[in-house]
Amino acid sequence: MLTLINYGGNMIKAIKGLIVAAIISAFSLAAYAADSKKPTRIPVHNWSSQIVMAHVIGGIIQDMGGNVEYVPADSNAVYESIRIGDVDISHEVWQSAFGKSFDIARDKGGLLDWGDHEARTLEDMGYPNWVADKGLCPGLPNWEAMKSEKCWKNFVTPDSGGKGRWLEGPQSWHQDLMPQRLEALGLADNWMVKFAGGADALWAELAAAKKEGRGTIIFNWTPNFTDGAGFTFIQFPPYFDGCRPVDGGDGKCGSPDGYLKKAVNENWTKSHPGAAAMFKKLSFNTSQIGAMAAYVDIDKMTHEDAAKTWLKKNKKVWKKWTK
């Protein structure tokens, strides 16, 4: 403590620092050997695979002798929280949805890119398989099928103004990407985009459309729990860097084959070097993530139980990361 006062010249600064340091150290500990025993704060968001994976990672850290704590957090705002140290790690950074928030926080400093998972992600417009089985839009998944009147007529809703409707996620997810894409592909005369308020609105639409047997095209992603019931993504012209209007392109492209990244707070890697090394090696593939989500969404386990089950069954997979 006393060393602080030697901080020379700026006495006021040193005193302020001392006071703050005293307050801080009242809440923390002085010495540590390897990993700090302070809990690693893992954010939990609102979709199953992420929550189960949070508990899986928590389980691994606990197995290594550390403590963990789970913090409910918004999936976009969490990167700022990691950057300033309110949360320590994030294990599911989806390129298309959160890439931008992640980049902004990383560039401000304090947040580190901690490598990718093996799994790749896709986030795009698509339809449940029974839409194709019923022949509501012949020619899908090729996007050009949507030009035909035989197709878009089946996707009209009362408030869509006589056009077929795409139900996109909340506008905060990709701003105007989808309306711009409709425009660019020349579909805007017969299709319109409605922004849903959240993921649950999308799932409600999926369930309702199925019950009614009506056509629906919604925004969705994989890996997700909808994979199990059968969901196909529309094949748009392939993505390349710079094809989107925000990057200066013409917008005639689908979504990228995206990364699933891990992110950490810089200080956490220093206070928890062991856990940080494990987290760097940690990598899940699509089927592992799917299995985690299925325990919850299909077998109706709690997230904690799903994580325990997964850890028990896959010791070989995760034990090697801890060494």
Binding site: Y7, A14, G17, V20, I23, I24, S25, F27, S28, L29, A30, Y32, S36, K37, P39, N46, W47, I51, G65, N67, V71, P72, A73, D74, S75, N76, A77, V78, S81, D86, S101, I104, T157, P158, D159, L167, P170, Q171, S172, Q175, D176, P179, K194, F195, A196, G197, G198, D200, A201, W203, E205, A207, A208, E212, F225, V246, N267, K270, S271, V296
Partner: protein
Amino acid sequence: MEIIKKYPNSFQWLFLLIVFFGLCFGIDVPEGYKYIRSIAEYSKDPNLSSYNLFGIEVRYYAYDTLWRLPPLLGWLPIWVNDSLFFLLNDWMPIEFWNADIKEFQTRPLILQITRVISATMLFLIEFIREILIGGIKTVVAFTSWDWIDANPWAELPGIPWTIVTAGAFILGYKLNGKGLAIFSAITMIYISVFGQWKPSMETLSFVLVAAPISFLLGLVLGIWAYRSKRVEGALNPILNVMQTMPHYSYLVPIMVIFGVGDHAGAIATIIFATPPMVRLTLLGLRKVSPDVVHAGKMSGCNDFQLLFKVLIPTARTDILIGVNQVIMQCLAMAVIASFIGAKGLGWNLLLALNQLRIGLALEAGICITLIAVLLDKMSLAWAHKQTDYFANLSFFERHRYGIFFVGAVVVGLIFASVGSFYFKEGFNYLYEVPHNKGISGEPFWNAGVDWIWDTFFQTLKIFNTWLIQDVLQPMRAAFLRMPVVATFVLVMGTGYIVGGIRSALVVGGFTLFIALSPWWDRALVTAYMATFGVIASGIIGIIVGSLAAQNKTSTKIVLGICDTLQTFPSFVYLIPVMMLFGVTDTSVLIAVIVYATIPATRYTIEGLRSVPPALHDAASMSGVTPMQRLLKIQFPLAFPHIMLGINQTVVFALFMVIIGAFIGTEDLGQYILKALSDVKGGGKGLILGLCVAFIGLAVDNLIRTWANKRKKLLGLEDY
């Protein structure tokens, strides 16, 4: 001329409407005008106008100023946001020793202070939480994570649910006798048996921190406002805004300033729950008759004694109703607070909805309502219980409840330890029923939703299509078709007729702020949905309220339903509604009507029932029919009170329209929701929230002025 003199008001209204419609039809929609769906549309178009202020570039579509005003306040949200960011990230950096990584680091002063506040709040919440369900963080706060790791026995054990249930039963009995005791026990048993114990206690723990802080804050501010006119004058507009601003809009700033977690949820809850406490404290103190104050002064009280021995005890009832309001508000925030990291029932409810497990969400929702009703009944019973100063009781009589509770603790502990032998494998159900390991009625609820679907869907679909195409879309188009100048004429003209030049200016000022923000079109859409919601809720509420007020039993039942619906988290019924009516405005409006009908009904009942019985008798003697009595006597007398109900209906409707963003709307709410997941959204969220608050306050000003005038005419007491 005679006619004009006889009905001056009607002619004023007629004139106003003629001017309004004249302007609407006289001003054409400018060429190229379209409803702006999103910000991105501002970025690419070369036809944009722009200006620079405070180094912030504002881009917008310039129209004739009679049609739409330019967004002269467009810089404000960004400026607020940048200031906030500067304050938290760059202003006065301070060096400190980070013990975790053994390095000196710098952190801005404000961030440092807010994190200390957060840590304190979090400690309090964890402390209460761990008393209830056990844990190690409280012990850690006094020792260290290393110490607890070496001494795992030091974990707080938590209280078995049997003991908490018995405690609630005894407390219920002490406060209000058998009825409340049984209700308390049923609530606790329900929570436990349905496996919601842990999340319920998590929610309870943060309510038990937020509520006392709100109470103290409200009490202190209320007393301060009572003692100083100036403070009251300053506080009043702030409270007005706090009570009409949708809670989403300040979630982002709180998250930025205090970080995510239970503490952030608690802080948001405090902001939401304090205003009614301040108002009720002030109201209670004002009502104390001067005679009581004189008596106090004559007995030689000093200021302090006068306040705590005379004024507050006399105003006790109102202040304790404030407590009750605080508790209700806290639980109403349970779900919303979980958006910024509060654990508990609210979070579980959102998770269940995200998996489309309506039954599960419903059960969590019922827990929130039960806890709310229980705390509400207990606090009210406490409010009405007067200390009996003259009783001469023996030791046992005075302490019997404490003794019973000790007995319950012993029995509970015996049960729990017997349980630990009996349930050798897995969970000790006599200690705590683990989360989601209890009974669940999920299949039943899901079957219910399916049944509603199968029975009503086809009919509802026809209704829905008709409503959207023939009512809602034309109405929305009509609102957007209003030139800005016509809106001002209508709003300020109404203000002038109702409350003179002062009201006109106040209302005009609120409108001007919105008109100069970049979101005028969106505010019009919010206004259209709120208007529809208020009209429908008002009609339903007044009809239901008048019917219910006819006798005592129906009054009680309907008021009970109102209480339940008010605390029941609306998110739960959003999903089934969305399945039936799709992602459309209809769904939003149904949710709005369910919620906004509550105050309309409640105030109608209260208004009608407060008509003095002597007047009823007088009427009966004059030989009126019951219908005549209702229409000619009760309604006119109750009308000012009913209008205050409509006032509340407006606020409730606006709140719900904003929550409607979770279904999918294109109004102010959509942007508030968007700001929620945008780290730079703090400023936007606040200004958008102000826009919503100002719509509410403008209507509030009109209705309140009118109701006060009317009450004076009727010779009723002013509230």
